[in-house]
Symmetry: none
Subunit: 197 residues, 4 copies
DNA sequence: GCATAAGCGAGACGGTACGTCCTGTCTTATC
DNA sequence: GATAAGACAGGACGTACCGTCTCGCTTATGC
């Protein structure tokens, strides 16, 4: 690779203007109205400048959700107990329940599933929660707070899945009570013989 | 009723040819390669004929999954017990796990969520299962097979949500074991003090 | 309304409605905005009914100018003299100078030149005048009012041609003076040695 | 001077290919078979490239006659006499009598009469001759070759009009003799007392 | 310290598809 | 048995974007 850093350096200003314009368009008109031409026009930028960073509108859209404004979840406590699960889910619900999160979730399904950015998104929005949740539940397992034969991944997918389902398909409100209910259910199951809420 | 059945009747043949062509294109190239022009070409049909039925490619794509080939779930027994839940979920997994179902699930997220066809799809693919599941669980409640304070809707959304999540985002295989595991979990919960699988 | 017998109860009415609608459209929007669909819609008539009489929009347009409202020129006196030429040209100018005449002249050039209706139009608008003019000039020839070697057809074509040219291409006003001027010129020529106007 | 020469320059090659294709289509199938899609296909060019230059098929058709192949009339001698009129008319007849000229004349009538290109055409095909003819006749007037009270414009319109009329409407052959006859007539008039041809 | 290489905005390019409109033909039920 | 209604295959319209490709400039680096 000759010319590692020769030539004019890429303009930070242009890069940020593109992301800003893209975010605004998505905000105003929705993800499927995002076009490269529209972004270029709004950002006062040439189309090739956009293509230099992302190879299509899809990727740009995904990137929009990857920038610092959608921050990571706060760290869980170093030795988390089963009670931390509530906070985690609460935070995930809030994050996905935002306008941005909603659009992103929509967009997700249309994406080329093998793309790096799709994976990145999935990592950030779902797996991130899943990972933290795994940490919590495995700790709980060790401490005997939950049964040792529990499939932790399945458990988390049921919780996350429910959230995604209601968001994407049922378009139900995701209230605060929900979090308590779902935790209660996942803990006690639905069979008789467990104490009430 | 003026205009009720005046004029040349719509051609069943053309209608079916359109759906067939659309289905084939989706099968071969994916949902996002479906274009009205392509369908018209393949079906040997004029574009306006397509637009007479559906107002854009999205709607046509959704309609593709609404026709008889993707049939309703079989009826559950008239007085279903908790054991029927397994069959219901098994069938849903199979249906969504097909190539067609997978594509459809993908497509879902990009759709205009207020469109009639989106709702129709949701009804058929999700609510259909949800409704039958509700029947089963409410019966089980009455018979005392499950606790009376259980939120039946939430319970089903956790199961369905997990399926959708794994299909859309994690792209995990949806094996047969899964069904047993998820039912077990939802019945017993994850707290200690329940018998093993 | 309801005809007593089967057969053709509303034929005349439909026919006239078509012509009326066509005339109105041409009047309002110009000849090139005339479409069969538009006429059918406006006339409350099925498209095939129009096609039963005329085979395309062009023919219909021409037919519009063939109906009684654009009347024939008045008859010339039975034994016309050279002085009748002025009246003839005057009338022709007036007829072509009308809005309808103008549009018709425009349309003429776009027409399929071999169609019967094109010929019919030509007959009515140009040859009609030409014929009457020939009568006048041949009579004048016999009476010695003009030279015997004059090409009568050429002479009339120069007069009519000038009118058409100014109408179509130069868009000059066709005033009354013009008629006197052109007759004077065609009579005396432009060489010196003729008395002034 | 923003936008003066920014951006990729327009491709001369594409421009010429469009005109060539348009000319060929008109030549082969006639003016009313000229479609933007057809031209794009034949020229190996995108439709928007055509629309960048002309806003519809009509304008493109007119432009076809405006390019160098249909050249200007040759210059008349610097101090032209009445005898030059013959050459001028002869050339005009030839030009209009060509296949291309004929089609163009037809097309003329269908055009939006206020368009720039319509005017351009009129300028080139009619006014060009008219202007040169005016020069000739005014010179002749000064030298006393024709009467001083002659309306030069009217005279030329009669000649040109006759040509156009026969071309458009009568579809008469425009032979060589015609030129002599029309000049003779316009010079001498049709009254008795002038010498024979 | 000046050449060079890459980035920049602008915008034209060949394309594809859009959704609309109209053509001329056909197939019904109605009158 | 002609009519109105309107669906049909076809095809052109003019527009919007796609992703690529020049342009003439600008901006650093590194020779």
């Amino acid at each position: 690779m000759a010319g590692a850093k020769v030539g004019r350096p890429r303009s930070k200003k242009a890069y940020l203007a593109i992301l800003k314009a893209a975010r605004e368009i998505i905000e105003e008109a929705g993800t499927h109205r995002l076009t490269i031409e529209g972004v270029a026009r709004r950002a006062g930028v040439g189309k090739p400048t956009i293509y230099r960073y992302w190879s299509n509108a899809q990727e740009l859209a995904i990137a929009t959700f990857m920038n610092p404004e959608v921050s990571n979840l706060p760290e869980t406590s170093t030795n988390p107990g089963i009670s931390d699960l509530r906070n985690l889910i609460q935070q995930t619900v809030q994050r996905l329940n935002s306008k941005q999160g909603r659009q992103m979730a929509f967009m997700l399904a249309g994406a080329e599933t093998d793309s790096e950015l799709f994976k990145a998104f999935r990592n950030r929005m779902i797996l991130d929660t899943r990972e933290k949740g795994t940490l919590i539940l495995e700790s709980a397992k060790i401490r005997g707070e939950i049964r040792s034969d529990v499939d932790v991944g399945l458990c988390l997918d049921m919780i996350l899945g429910m959230i995604v389902l209601r968001l994407l398909i049922a378009h139900t409100e995701l209230g605060e009570d929900l979090v308590d209910d779902v935790i209660s259910m996942v803990l006690k199951g639905i069979l008789p013989g467990a104490s009430d809420t």
